[in-house]
């Protein structure tokens, strides 16, 4: 007879983290599967329902990686999904899910899902339910190639090209017309608000990388490369306006439509110092990166990067993150190597400062004033779509506000369900100041905690052509031998 017991020793083959998936599916926000692919047939087909029921039952307590145990306690009877693990990511409201029976690396699953999302986006332009539904045949072609029998194959957009025969059907973007200049591209980027979604910019780069298998169909002028330098700021201020924490997470995101396989070299500022690599700032005012990491394609030039700050590589087609970096400009690293002596670095000030003033005017009435000052330096630089989010106390009954007389391009909205006041400023100039006065009426008399409940204030914004950390792209060279090659290079800076 067969002996197939699960002898779980210290390094048992069944528990060893082989990365092997059983299924991949995409669910829309209502839980319908819009793509479903089974690779191994060892997991029931009801998994999308099980997944959706799980996350809707647990709501915000659901984690992206989970299993549903059928053997808690009692019996040999196991539910149909016993031993099935779910790994998911949420992108643009859609759930990208894979199931596995293996104790695989969760990071592998999550990174791979993100890559599938990226490849699909490269092919069909935008990730949305509509565009996925319109292109589902193409997506199945892609899924056929990126996974075989549950094992990851390749996710390189360009290598997949010869295996994908469908032409993408691109949605007509109603919001904009031809985006020919970088400014309008940037403007479009800003309309697609949200945290990191700015990496999915306007029309110019939301077209598919692949114009079908027929190269003649590639549009004219398509030989271009987009480089985004995106910085996300985390700032924590004390009540008196002093900065408690200021961190910048930056990334250089590229989207390449270049033909052939040209070599690209990107040079960043010379005064760049990477402290995690043991560098010490040579001069006052240098830009200090706490640490950084890179995309696969620059592996070869990584060793020399520390000295010449140049990355040479052959870019993969489509969108990819060339480099991520961390900067903590105000870190008072008295004894740290991680951020040592970066206290000296004050290359750029905070782009904004928020000054809150809270008054308890009556037992159940609060009056607050929020002053936001812009400190963006440089001529003509301004922030777009600044959203100041002010949480209000739970016991808030009504909320009134007024702004400075005659201001334009600003709006305030109170969202009771979220317990939040959203103050939107469309355009925020370099050295200017805006004020919002808030009157809050509470259900119950003011408790000591209420002042604390008015906060923390968070801000979302993007500043085109501005780098808070001081990281700059000095040169971008595209070289292709033996060819008259005139690519378009778009570089932009966005601070968030």
């Amino acid at each position: 007879s067969g002996h197939h017991h699960h002898a779980c020793g210290s390094h048992c083959a069944f528990c060893w983290p082989w990365s092997m998936f059983s299924q991949f599916f995409i669910l829309n926000p209502k839980g319908d599967s819009i793509i479903f692919r089974d690779y191994r047939g060892d997991v029931p087909k009801s998994t999308p329902d099980v997944f959706y029921r799980h996350i809707t039952t647990l709501k915000n307590e659901a984690t992206p990686v989970f299993f549903i145990s059928g053997a808690t306690g009692a019996s040999v009877e196991t539910s149909s999904v016993d031993g099935v693990n779910f790994i998911s990511i949420k992108q643009k409201g859609l759930y990208f899910v894979l199931t596995t029976r293996s104790n695989m690396s969760s990071s592998f699953g999550i990174e791979f899902l993100a890559s599938i999302g990226k490849v699909i986006k490269d092919y069909i332009g935008v990730l949305s339910e509509e565009s996925i539904r319109n292109n589902f045949v193409l997506i199945y072609e892609v899924l056929d190639e990126v996974i075989d029998y549950g094992y990851a194959q390749g996710t390189s957009t360009e290598e997949l090209k010869s295996f994908v025969f469908n032409e993408p059907s691109v949605l007509v973007d109603r919001s904009s017309t031809q985006a020919s200049s970088i400014i309008s591209a940037v403007e479009n980027a800003i309309t697609s608000s949200g945290k990191k979604q700015v990496t999915a910019p306007g029309r110019a780069s939301s077209r598919p990388v692949i114009g079908g298998s027929n190269p003649s169909k590639d549009r004219e002028g398509a030989n271009e490369i987009f480089v985004d330098l995106i910085e996300q700021l985390t700032v924590l201020c004390a009540g008196n306006g002093s900065v408690l924490r200021f961190d910048i997470d930056g990334s250089i995101v590229m989207k390449s439509f270049l033909k052939g396989s040209p070599d690209i070299s990107i040079t960043l500022n010379e005064d760049l110092v990477i402290s995690s690599q043991g560098d010490r700032p040579s001069t006052y005012g240098s830009v200090i990166l706490d640490d950084c990491n890179f995309h696969e394609c620059v592996a070869a030039s990584m060793e020399t990067f520390n000295s010449d700050h140049t990355l040479s590589f052959s870019p993969p087609q489509g969108e990819f993150t060339l480099m991520n970096y961390r900067v903590s400009p105000f870190a008072s690293g008295s004894s740290s190597s991680d951020s040592s002596s970066s206290g000296a670095s004050t290359t750029q000030p905070l782009p904004f400062r928020v000054f809150p003033f809270v008054d308890i005017v009556a037992p159940n009435r609060l009056e607050a004033m929020f002053k936001v000052r812009g400190d963006i330096q440089g001529h003509g630089v301004h922030a777009n779509n600044v959203v100041v989010k002010i949480p209000v106390p739970k016991s808030t009954q009504t909320c009134n506000w007024d702004m400075d007389y005659g201001v334009q391009g600003q709006s305030v909205e109170y969202k009771p369900t979220e317990g939040m006041v959203l103050w939107t400023i469309k355009k925020f100039g370099g050295a200017s100041e805006h004020v919002l006065r808030l009157k809050v009426l509470l259900d119950s008399p003011v408790a000591a905690s209420v002042k604390k409940e008015l906060g923390p204030v968070s801000m979302e914004f993007s500043i085109p052509m501005y780098s808070c950390s001081g990281v700059q792209i000095k040169h971008l060279r595209v070289t292709e031998r033996n060819k008259l090659y005139q690519p378009h290079r778009w570089i932009r800076y966005i601070a968030q």
């Binding site: 002898a7 990365s19 045949v137 592996a299 004894s335």
Partner: protein
């Protein structure tokens, strides 16, 4: 005071039980939902007409040979399939459109066939011809497509037609076909394990590991791993595939050529290799230097793969091992901060959380500077990220950063989300327990939280404070005078319980203790069980300090608590205290007020400590175990190997369109007794497979054979060491609780019953306190004389007597019916 301490203990276990109940309810509801599956069946009704409509559409399109109509119809079929509708009924129509030169249409039809072939095994034979033809196509892409599809049909009855194409594919000139063929081997072996045996397939795959194309290498490795794993499961070979030393060097030197996923796969294989072949010290340094640059990669899966490998190779080099945690600290934080979504950050945070158990001062060390601030929550972080960040913050708290962390945690308390607030409050207390320097500060913060006067915050603070005071009893002086005021503020049972505990514990310092307790006793029936049990202890304790005031109160309490309809736990405790006091008050005082050890600072209670589990999870670094915080044997279930036996017949030529009679015979073979060969993966004889595969005469049991009656060997013999080894290596096959009712079985009665009725001999039995334990074993003679191990734990204390039975056997999970039968016989 021993008794009160125990109370708390029981309290936690009671909470656990409630939790377990509610989670099993959850499963029941999801199970019921699955059974009904309202969604698809509803749709099926709705769409039945449409399926028929599609049938006609497909027929007319193929009759008219109209490619546009054909493709449109096929697309509709696939989109229904995506929705989860049953489209198996269209199988014969789909076969009619398989013959096409249109690659897209071909792909769609193949996709359909691969998804539905299992429900139509006979009809599937009809497409084999077309697929075989495509396997010989000039275009390597078509060859690869056909080969991938034909292997994915998952049908044993076509295995012998497939195998020659797989073999040929392995030496195809196109790497695309070779990689597909390598994976095909694994697929084929899964449905018909015997097929590839005679063809030296493993040798061929070994050659492919040195292929020029990296994808071929990755797939060949995967196939070798899968095939040998299954062969071990079938008992045909004894050891799992492990990359042999020369190959390991080869792979290591080529690592850069692989794509990022390939690199991850190779790293996993290499890690397994280094576990079985620990490298020399010089080589370790070489490996570390070679792979160090990978820590700067932007792909977190790759970085964690490298970290895992580093942890494995340096395990016996304490110096380097410790440095490692500092080396990877910065890259992990960068990955976490740069993560494209919260999910990726969460996976990394889970690993940092685990690493902190090995290297608690990883971020507290002065070299880490202000890195702890990276774990501060962002407003937009989802709950699961915030939760783990708070956990990490409490773990990295040290004298230098504790105040900053407490300040930060205090911010989350008012942020709105209840779960975050509770977590943050608990975190503040834990930081205080871990860092004695800041205990005053923590106490002040908690009192501040109580003064905010918000129910949910006060409740959580009360619970946290109770734990905090167990560590620092001297801090009680600050809160005790005010304590009676807080009863009005909180409603949550565990919060009220904590307050009651505090009153009882510090009754000598609470002036109005008797009056507070009196109020509670008056409203005794309104309180939860948890509070009532604690109230009992608190009153008894207070009685010793203030006998005159308490006498009446405690009398009333005993009367209420010993009412026949109260919960047995409460009832028994009340009786216990009552008799204790009746017997001798001084003696009772000595017992109830016994000295107890304060909980050492560090924030760890006995019930939280499970280093063994943590070590086990650490061994599974970079896997799901880390996310769940559970070792893999709790959630990974090995699937039984294929149940189809495969007997080689001479391949019959297929005539197109005519399905031949059953191509293979399912031969039920009586199971031959073979001693269990546990999958010991320590041996490195990895190159001898081909010879072992030659004599594949072992046939796995046929699933559908009628269940044999369970019979046990008459006089089982097993020595304790064997038992211990077997017990440790096996997973639990069944686990259930038996209600004993009013009987009070003793170890000897249970022994006798199990021996006579179930054929399970006793290995050892004994009683510790109120708990008794028995270990039994037996051999199932009707299932290859495999052992069955049974553990019985009886809880005889208290009113609720129960027997908890756990069964383990190598027959599980392969033959669950056997262990089920044993479970049933024990239940009887």
């Amino acid at each position: 005071m021993m008794v009160s301490n125990r109370c708390l203990h029981i309290l936690t276990s009671a909470q656990c039980r409630i939790f377990a109940c509610s989670s099993s309810c959850l499963i029941m509801s999801s199970g019921a939902g699955l059974g009904l599956a309202p969604h698809p069946s509803f749709f099926n009704e709705m769409k039945k007409g449409e399926i028929n409509d599609l049938k006609t559409q497909l027929r007319t399109a193929s009759a008219e040979r109209d490619p546009v109509k054909e493709r449109a119809a096929i697309q509709r079929v696939i989109s229904y399939m995506t929705l989860g509708l049953d489209v198996t009924g269209l199988f014969s129509e789909m076969i009619m459109v398989v013959n096409t030169r249109d690659v897209i249409q071909k792909k769609l039809v193949y996709l359909y066939l691969c998804s539905n072939a299992e429900s139509n095994p006979d009809l599937s034979l009809l497409v084999v011809n077309t697929l075989q033809k495509d396997c010989r196509d000039d275009n390597p892409m078509i060859r690869g497509l056909a080969l991938r599809s034909i292997c994915s049909l998952r049908l044993a009855n076509i295995a012998e037609y497939v195998e020659s194409f797989v073999i040929r594919g392995l030496s195809d000139i196109s790497p695309y076909v070779r990689k597909t063929a390598a994976m095909g081997c694994a697929k084929l072996h899964a449905v018909a394990p015997g097929t590839l045996g005679e063809l030296g397939i493993l040798d061929k795959l070994y050659q492919l590991v040195r292929d020029r194309d990296t994808l071929v290498v990755v797939n060949a490795l995967a196939a070798l791993e899968e095939i040998t794993k299954r062969e071990v499961q079938l008992g045909n070979v004894t050891s799992q595939f492990v990359v042999p030393p020369p190959l390991a060097l080869h792979l290591l030197s080529r690592l850069r050529e692989f794509n990022e996923w390939g690199q991850c796969a190779v790293l996993t294989h290499l890690t397994s290799h280094y576990i079985h072949h620990p490298p020399e010290e010089d080589h370790i340094i070489e490996i570390l230097n070679l792979l160090d640059e990978k820590l700067r990669h932007g792909n977190s899966a790759l970085v964690l793969g490298v970290v895992k490998l580093f942890l494995v190779v340096t395990e016996n080099m304490p110096n380097i091992y410790t440095q490692l945690f500092e080396r990877v600290r910065t890259p992990l934080v960068t990955l976490m901060e740069a993560a494209q979504g919260p999910e990726a950050a969460y996976a990394i945070l889970s690993h940092i959380h685990l690493m902190l158990h090995r290297a608690p001062d990883m971020f507290a060390h002065h070299t880490a500077g202000a890195m702890f601030k990276h774990f501060f929550c962002r407003f937009q972080d989802p709950l699961y990220v915030k939760t783990i960040k708070i956990d990490i913050m409490t773990l990295i708290a040290a004298p230098a950063n504790a105040k900053d962390i407490i300040l930060e945690l205090s911010e989350y308390v008012c942020e709105g989300d209840l779960a975050v607030a509770q977590k943050a409050i608990q975190g503040i207390a834990t930081v205080g327990m871990r860092v004695p320097d800041v205990q005053d500060y923590v106490m002040q913060s908690m009192i501040g939280l109580l003064q905010m006067g918000m129910e949910h915050i006060s409740s959580a603070t009360c619970v946290a404070m109770k734990d905090f005071l167990r560590t620092y009893p001297q801090q009680a002086a600050l809160i005790i005078p005010e304590i009676s005021g807080y009863f009005e503020q909180v409603e949550d049972p565990s919060a009220r319980g904590s307050l009651v505990w505090m009153v009882g514990e510090y009754c000598d310092r609470v002036d109005d203790a008797p009056y507070v307790l009196e109020d509670l006793v008056d409203k005794f029936d309104d309180e939860s069980l948890e509070v009532r049990v604690l109230l009992l202890t608190a009153c008894v304790r207070t009685f010793f300090v203030r006998p005159a005031e308490m006498q009446y109160i405690i009398g009333a309490l005993f009367e209420k608590a010993t009412h026949p309809q109260t919960h047995p736990d409460l009832h028994d405790r009340a009786l216990f205290y009552y008799r204790l006091l009746n017997n001798n008050v001084d003696e009772a005082a000595r017992i109830v007020n016994g000295t107890k050890q304060p909980i050492p600072s560090g924030g760890k209670f006995a019930e939280h400590q499970n280093l063994e589990t943590l070590d086990k999870i650490f061994e599974e670094f970079n896997s799901l175990s880390v996310i769940y915080g559970k070792p893999s044997d709790l959630f990974i279930k090995a699937l039984p190997p294929p149940q189809t036996s495969y007997t080689r017949t001479a391949p019959t030529p297929l005539s197109p369109g005519v399905p031949t009679a059953p191509l293979l015979h399912k031969t039920p073979v009586s199971p031959s007794p073979i001693p269990a060969s546990p999958a010991s993966s320590s041996s490195s004889s990895s190159l001898v497979y081909s010879s072992q595969l030659l004599d594949l005469d072992i046939v796995p049991p046929v699933a559908s054979s009628p269940q044999p009656r369970l019979s046990m060997r008459a006089d089982p013999v097993m020595d304790p060491t064997q038992f211990q080894e077997a017990w440790d290596s096996l997973g639990v096959a069944a686990n259930f609780e038996l209600a004993v009712g009013n009987m009070s079985p003793t170890t000897s009665t249970i022994e006798a019953t199990l021996a006579s009725r179930c054929g399970l001999a006793c290995l050892a039995s004994g009683t510790v306190g109120s708990q008794m334990k028995l270990y039994h074993f037996g051999f199932v003679s009707s299932a290859g004389d495999e052992p069955v191990l049974v553990e019985v734990v009886g809880e005889m204390g208290g009113r609720e007597k129960s027997l908890v039975v756990a069964i383990k056997s190598p027959l599980y999970p392969g033959r669950p019916e056997v262990t089920q039968q044993i479970a049933n016989s024990i239940k009887d």
